[in-house]
Every structure is written in C-alpha cells, then in structure tokens.
Symmetry: C2
DNA sequence: TAAGTGTCAATACAGGTGTATATTCATGTG
DNA sequence: CACATGAATATACACCTGTATTGACACTTA
C-alpha cells in the first residue's frame, strides 16, 4: 500500500497502456510511420521507434535484437510486395495486353500503399549496412528471375526471340527501380509522366533486345 | 604566467595544430574518409567530422552552417566529376570507336577515384533530405542533357535516327547510375562483369531506340 | 492457493551530440 | 609599438542515445 502509486497515476493518464499486446508488426509499422518519405532507417533510434509504438525502450528487445534486425524485416516485407507485383502481372499477361504498363503502374502504386515498405527498400538499397544491401539484392534477383521466365515464355508465344533474357530482365528491373526511386519523392502528376517515360524505356529495351537477337 | 599552461601541453603533444589552415575542402575530404563505402552522410556527426579533420567541433561552423550544407557541397563535387566523364567521352567519340564502353569504364573508375564523391552522390540520391535529392537530380539532368546532345550529334553523323533522344538519354543515364550503385559495393572482378553487362544494356536501349525511330 | 513465466515499465548510467560562450593566439594595420 | 581582426580553441550545458538492472503485473500450471 502506498508503494505502487506511481504506476497508477501513469495508467490514468495513458489509457491503460498495458492492455494491448505490442507485436513485431506494430514496431515495423511505427518505424515506417517515422521514416515518412525522406528519412533513412539508420537515422531512427531504438527509443524513437519504441516511443512511436507506445512501449518502453527496453521492450523493443522482446521483438528485435536491434534496429538493424528490424530493418531487414522491413526489406523482406518489401520483397514480398515486389513478388506480388510480378505475380499479378503474370496473371494479367494471359488475358489482356500492355502488361508492361499495368506492371509499372502496379509498381509505382506500391510506393504509396498503406505500408510503404517498397520505399524503405529503395532507400536502403544504396545506404546502410552490408546486410541491408544483400537483402535488397536478393529481393531484386528474385524479381529478375521471375521476369526472365516471363520473357522466355513470351518468346515462345510470340515468336520474337529475346537477346540474353537474363540481362534484359536485369536491365528492365534496374531501370524500373531507378525510376521508382525518383518517383517516390514526387507529386502524383509528375509521377504519371514518369510512368509514361518508364513504359517507353522498357519498350526500347525489349525492342532492342529482340533486334539484337535477330542479328546475332 | 601559469595561466596558459594548458595549451602549451596540448601543443607539445599535438604537433602545433594551429599552424596549417583548415579549408572547407579538408572537411569534405574528412567526411568522405569517414563515409567509406557504406555509411550515409546522415550518420555523420559534426563532431566526428571535425575530429577527423583535426579541428575543434566549433571550428566546423567557419566553413559550413551544418552537415547538410557540407553534403550538398559533396554532391556538387560529384556532379563536376560526372560532367568530366561526359566531356572526355565526347572527345574520344570523334576519334575512336566504342565510346560507350570507355564512358562506362570511366564512370565506374570514378567510383573509387581518390575522392569518392560519386559514391556519395549515388548514396544520397535515395536517402536524405529534399535538398540532397534536388542537388542530385540537378546533376543527373546536366548529364542527361549532354548525353542527348551527343546522341543527336551522332544521329546526324551516322544517319541512324534516335527515337526521343531526351528519353533515350534519360534511360541510359538512370541505368548507368543504377548499375554504378551496385558496383560500388562489389569487388573488382565482379565490377568487370557489371561493366560488360552495362555496355550491353546500353546497346539494347540504343538499338531499340533506333528501331522505334524507323517504325514511327 | 502458490509458484513460475513472459511482457512490460521505471530508473540509472556512461557515453555522444549540437551549439553558446568566452578565450587564446597569429596576423595584418594604424 | 599598440591594437583590431579572424581563426581556432576550451569549457559548459542541456539533450538524446543504447542498454543494464530491477521490479510490477497478468498469465499459466501445479
């Protein structure tokens, strides 16, 4: 009696903070919220994330060993989103035309989806530790592999051969990612123009690849 | 007398730190040294840079208002290096062939030149404040403009028309930058392969662009 | 009921940080 | 010579950081 008054006061003010369990996902969401459009993960402090998620600094350790581990989790999420884009594109490809445009649009839309994991990936691609870069490279390689499959499948369907499908896929992937990185910090109608440009660029690559296949 | 003994001791140990004037350039060099291959500028503290440059924390303010201002200066330097690459490529183009390969090689070499400004640019492209991104975009636009001029000049020389030269230049630029960003964190023989890939990718774009010009 | 377990908060500590203030000194100028 | 100027320094302050320690509370399980 009288010993535990401190907590009670806090509880009164803070709406019973203990009640709801805080998950790893909550922490990831808090981090993304803090990152917004500009900050890189390395500028986030453990305390800041914990504060945003509404837990004590130390509770962070229940879910992640440190901020770096959380970052890798974010990148994994982004990779999942990326693969979702490809999978959708593949389905659309069988029924309608201009799969390129719809894929590019899907990619760009993913930039400001509810959880902006993709932006995190784009940002950590060039910044950050080796672990981050490796995680990003891994996800991009998945993407390239699926795109190559797609190109080879299309090759059989249309009869247009593709020159070095793996390289073509890589070129397209890197270009889209680069354009997406610019798009991330731009307004919506600027982004529309960027999408148009990206589509044309991809067409250049594919047309060029096919022309080089004929010549070789 | 007896009041100023503190300084004298320090002087003895530190080899007369006052003697040589510290320039803004020295601070920029110190920052690049600290950045190495992985850190982003936002992780540098003013004190850390000052320490590396061998000056007191407060002396930093004589040269830059804050770390952000120093970063923009670094990006400007990188842009100058970039324009140097284009200018060299232009001269080579008139006498020998395969200007593409030599340009790409020049670009990649610039990555680990003495002063690795280019790496800074690549890293701050996706991270960092609006000011950084704008600075980077500006430099890339310069690069694209010069490349477009080059493409148009080549168009007249060879008779091969180029489809939307501005867009073609942009595609090439963004692709090279993206490939350079991966190259920055790789070993030298991995980089050699990356250069080969980049050259082929550029050729795809140019061949595609020319084919689309004919059709349109 | 009692003990054990997992989740969180409170406190504390030893650092690092940006910057305000005042000081030291080498240098040029009258 | 005296003295103003400018560049660099030292000290100090309030703040934020990661994390170690300890204890509170809600649960299972016996």
């Amino acid at each position: 009696m009288g010993i535990r008054t401190r907590r009670k006061n806090k509880q009164e003010a803070e709406t019973s903070s203990r009640r709801t369990q805080v998950t790893a996902q909550d922490l990831m969401d808090a981090a993304v919220r803090l990152l917004g459009t500009h900050r890189s993960v390395s500028t986030l402090s453990l305390r800041e994330i914990a504060r945003e998620a509404g837990i004590a600094p130390n509770s962070f350790y229940r879910h992640f060993r440190d901020v770096d581990e959380l970052t890798v989790a974010l990148i994994d999420q982004a990779g999942r989103a990326l693969r979702g884009i490809i999978r959708e594109a593949r389905q659309r490809l069988s029924m309608e035309r201009s799969a390129i445009r719809t894929s590019v649009e899907a990619f760009m839309d993913q930039l400001d989806a509810d959880e902006k994991y993709l932006q995190v990936l784009l940002r950590e691609m060039s910044t950050g530790s080796d672990a981050f870069r490796q995680a990003v490279e891994r996800e991009l390689t998945y993407f390239e592999d699926e795109l190559r499959d797609e190109l080879e499948r299309m090759e059989k369907l249309t009869g247009h051969a593709t020159f070095e499908p793996a390289l073509t896929a890589k070129a397209i992937t890197r270009l889209v990612v680069a354009m997406g990185a610019s798009a991330a910090s731009q307004s919506l109608d600027q982004r529309a123009e960027l999408i148009d440009q990206t589509v044309i660029m991809i067409r250049m690559i594919m047309v060029g690849s096919q022309a080089m296949a004929k010549k070789a």
